[in-house]
């Protein structure tokens, strides 16, 4: 399909005849393609800014502070989705991080050799499964299970006035902040675990051996030598995982309940920026509605952009 260009350079050579003029064309084409990256990046920012401008102008700072999102009365306050995005992403990270470290340490340090490779490959492959698959599983399997075995019992047995009762209040249909975070966690878990594993493998064998040679236990070697050795990269990867969780659309849209008010508990339905855009953008009838959604997009872009830049700076400095 696409690789014919690679295996037959001779045909391309006819397209770009040798000689200084052909050279210059080839080189400029490559340069333009590279510049496209910059153009795309700038384009995303400018397009979102222009598209969202009417909403920023109409609501000003209230766009971020108000949680009233009402397409009928044309009032748009994005606090609900913004908070929802942050909560679900951080919760997902909180759930996934220890597991991811556990898996990668297990694979690098403890797992019998015959098992280590297959598990590592499986984890890596799972990292590539499209998020819509995770989302569907959340909707059809996790949500009903969660409602039946967790939400109902809690609703019945825990008084709504207690601290715990307030945490778990909500419609018992399994579509809520917590299940959305769970799905997000499951989705970023294979990704983080496999990158962590690669990172841990970059620690020179001699440094590991030196630590073991002093009589350290595997736990001590992992905590005091291996993890510090790859600290920057590790934090970078955590940021990338966070970036994924922040911007993930399909895994969340299915299961978060899609209400725009501020969530009152872990078991309350909510929304994220991405899920709101995915749900409403094609149905937005008024100019202001789509402007507000585009403005939301710009907010999401700014948040993830910051996280990604930090991640890349940290990872880039690793060597």
């Amino acid at each position: 399909m696409s690789d014919s260009a690679l295996s037959q350079p001779s045909r391309l050579n006819r397209l770009f005849p040798s000689g200084s003029f052909g050279e210059m064309i080839f080189r400029s084409l490559c340069f333009s393609a590279a510049t496209l990256t910059l153009v795309a990046m700038a384009g995303i920012i400018v397009a979102l800014a222009i598209g969202g401008w009417p909403a920023f102008k109409a609501f000003g700072f209230n766009f971020f502070l108000s949680s009233e999102w009402n397409p009928v009365s044309e009032v748009y306050g994005a606090a609900g989705p913004i908070i929802g995005t942050l909560i679900t992403a951080f919760l997902a990270l909180l759930l996934a991080l220890p597991l991811a470290i556990g898996i990668s340490v297990f694979l690098v340090e403890f797992c019998p050799r015959i098992l280590a490779r297959p598990i590592a490959v499986a984890v890596e492959l799972l990292a590539g499964i499209p998020s819509i698959v995770y989302g569907m599983w959340g909707l059809f399997v996790l949500a009903p299970w969660f409602a039946h075995y967790i939400q109902f019992p809690l609703l019945i047995h825990v008084s709504p006035d207690t601290w715990l009762g307030k945490m778990v209040a909500g419609v018992p249909n399994g579509a809520n902040i917590l299940t959305a975070s769970l799905i997000l966690a499951i989705m970023i878990l294979p990704y983080m675990a496999s990158v962590f594993r690669e990172l841990f493998l970059t620690v020179p064998a001699q440094v590991r051996e030196a630590a073991y040679g002093l009589g350290a236990t595997p736990f001590e070697v992992v905590c005091s030598v291996i993890i510090p050795y790859v600290k920057r990269g590790l934090i970078g990867v955590i940021m990338l995982g966070l970036g994924r969780a922040l911007g993930e659309t399909m895994a969340v849209t299915f299961i978060i309940g899609n209400t725009h008010s501020l969530p009152h508990s872990l078991f309350d339905s909510g929304s994220t920026i991405a899920s709101t855009i995915a749900n409403e953008f094609t149905e937005a009838t008024s100019e202001m509605h789509s402007a507000a959604l585009t403005a939301l997009g710009l907010v999401l872009f700014m948040i993830t952009f910051m996280v990604l830049i930090m991640a890349r700076l940290l990872i880039g400095k690793r060597s």
């Binding site: 696409s2 690679l6 295996s7 350079p9 050579n13 770009f16 040798s18 052909g22 050279e23 080189r27 490559c30 333009s32 393609a33 590279a34 496209l36 990256t37 910059l38 795309a40 990046m41 397009a47 979102l48 598209g51 556990g102 898996i103 297990f106 340090e109 598990i119 490959v121 499986a122 984890v123 590539g128 499964i129 499209p130 998020s131 819509i132 698959v133 989302g135 569907m136 909707l139 399997v141 294979p190 236990t217 595997p218 990338l240 993930e248 659309t249 399909m250 299915f254 991405a274 995915a278 953008f281 585009t294 999401l300 872009f301 993830t304 952009f305 990604l308 991640a311 890349r312 880039g316």
Partner: protein
């Protein structure tokens, strides 16, 4: 020595926790794949590939969505591979670590993980809104924008792996730099470049969000790139969120198909790299 007993105990607990988290995660992921197969495999008839998507209550398949997905992915990949390989080549061979080159490299890495829904919004703003219509071509462009950074990055990495002696040998024979790149370096790196393409392909073949408001979706079969076009992910989304059982069943079938396709492409990519390294 009691502190020593404590150390060994802590270590035991740690090993147990690590094993447990692996067990938990692998079990969970097996559960997901399992329910995908249980729910999807039953509906996997030939009709899925020969009939278009049905109205609620009717029988039908996913032909229009499958073909739409393939069409948009192919167009996207052509764009992404051509541009990505050129961009990666420039970064690796021509940029000479200039400030601009480093900036592009960095931006490409960031673009790699920009939320796909924002890419969809961007393409909507530049291609759908100005021309007043959703189109398969807009969908393909948004997918291309998602695949291109991957191809660029892999191309860069693979070209960097090629030894400088190769370049010097080629130029020593009097070939120009561009000729050396096209006739020697690309050839030597071909398996790696192909892997880059496959990785990009795997990434976009399951993408849903950017298609929602670029290609939109279409319940009829079409190959016209200027019209809205159906795709597997958007159809799955629509069907899964619906209240009809047969639509939901078809959604499972579609999800199974996508998962299988992505797995196959990824495995193919791994096999290629291994073949290339040898």
């Amino acid at each position: 020595m009691s502190s020593n007993l404590k150390r060994r105990f802590i270590n035991k607990v740690f090993v147990a926790l690590c094993s447990l988290s692996t067990l938990l995660a692998v079990g969970m992921l097996a559960l997901i794949l399992g329910s995908l197969i249980v729910n999807g495999a039953g509906g996997l008839h030939l009709s899925v590939f020969t009939q278009d998507q049905p109205s609620p209550g009717m029988s039908g398949g996913l032909r229009n969505a499958i073909i739409g997905s393939i069409a948009m992915c192919v167009v996207a990949m052509i764009i992404a591979v051509v541009l990505g390989i050129m961009a990666g080549t420039w970064l690796s061979e021509y940029s000479r670590n200039s400030k601009y080159g480093q900036a592009i490299h960095f931006l490409n890495d960031v673009l790699l993980s920009v939320p796909s829904i924002l890419v969809g919004l961007f393409v909507y703003e530049i291609m759908v809104r100005p021309f007043h219509g959703f189109s398969a071509f807009a969908g393909a462009v948004s997918l291309a924008l998602l695949a291109m950074p991957i191809v660029t990055r892999t191309t860069y990495d693979m070209l960097q792996l090629q030894p400088n002696t190769l370049r010097e040998a080629g130029m020593g024979l009097g070939a120009s730099q561009g000729l050396v790149i096209r006739s020697i370096i690309w050839k030597a790196a071909a398996p790696g470049l192909l892997t880059g393409g496959l990785l990009g392909f795997a990434r976009i073949s399951g993408e849903t969000a950017p298609l929602l408001f670029t290609a939109l979706g279409n319940q009829f079969l079409t190959l016209n790139m200027t019209e809205p076009m159906g795709s597997l992910p958007t159809t799955i989304f629509q069907f899964a969120m619906s209240a009809y059982d047969d639509w939901r069943n078809l959604a499972w079938v579609g999800a199974l198909l996508i998962a299988m396709a992505v797995l196959t492409i990824n495995i193919l990519g791994r096999v290629m790299t291994r073949g290339g390294k040898r």
